[in-house]
Amino acid sequence: MKLTCDEASAICDKSQYKEASLWEKIKLNIHLFLCKKCGLYAKQNRIMSTCLQKLKDSENPKTQHLNQKEIKCMQQELKTKIES
């Protein structure tokens, strides 16, 4: 029933991905009620998740491509292997 700060913050991390179980969340909330440090951690973790969401949104649309030079180079190297 009683969590250490290590366990509580681990559940808090898991819950950032909505993957903590109900029982874990109950135990976490009891701990957060009693522990100021983990309370801060939970608050900052939410802030961090918001930032990460922004980072994700900025990174995801740009699928990364190989440039022509890299493609050519790959092609050349593979060709050498095929022929050998």
């Binding site: 250490t4 991390d13 898991k14 993957e19 440090k37 983990c38 900052q44 961090m48 930032c51 994700k56």
Partner: protein, 189 residues
């Protein structure tokens, strides 16, 4: 191996057909352009060597991606076995009466200032990115896959051949480390 089976592989066309697709897959897991490129090239070489094993049951692309996945696991195992300097810092007492409690110097402190305004700042994303880069590679890799690329927990575990609890330990360590890094580089003025 019959001739017809072999005909379904066209190594001459691999680069133009699949290089970009494989590269995109790799870069989502390994956040390093050159390394991702090397893995793709390596995939083609291995595929060429193993072309006789291609049964023609799966598509060429599926077959190539399976080889690339293997390369990524190998890479993960390699970085996973590198111990020492890149170890993540401890955040909690590991024994004694205070086991599991926050270490004094690693405990969260109040983030002063107008946080909401700071979140909007683009520079913050940059700091965060730097902090992720500073994580030990193994942590950064799993953390990115889960958080930035939002790959399902189950899929990450399968891809890297790790257990779920293993994954959460990594996420936990990555996040406590990131929190500290943000605090030191951004919220403390």
């Amino acid at each position: 191996m019959s001739v017809t089976d072999k005909q379904s592989l066209n190594p001459e066309k691999w680069v133009s057909l699949y290089a970009d697709y494989l590269f995109n897959y790799a870069i989502g897991r390994i956040n390093d352009r050159d390394l991702a490129k090397d893995l793709v090239q390596d995939t083609f070489f291995s595929a060429l060597k193993a072309r006789d094993n291609f049964k023609g049951e799966a598509s060429e692309r599926t077959w190539l991606i399976a080889i690339l996945k293997r390369k990524i696991i190998d890479y993960y195992r390699k970085i996973n076995s590198i111990k020492g300097k890149a170890e993540v810092r401890m955040n909690f007492y590991t024994d004694g009466e205070r086991e599991g409690e926050w270490l004094e110097e690693r405990a969260p402190t109040d983030w002063s200032g107008e946080i909401e305004k700071k979140i909007e700042n683009e520079e913050l994303a940059h700091v965060l990115e730097k902090c992720i880069e500073n994580l030990p590679e193994k942590y950064a890799m799993v953390f990115r896959m889960k958080t930035i690329h939002q790959i399902e927990t189950e899929d990450i575990c399968k891809e890297l051949d790790i257990t779920t609890s293993n994954l959460w330990v990594i996420i936990h360590r990555a996040r406590t480390q990131l929190r500290k890094c943000l605090e030191e580089n951004w919220f403390k003025n």
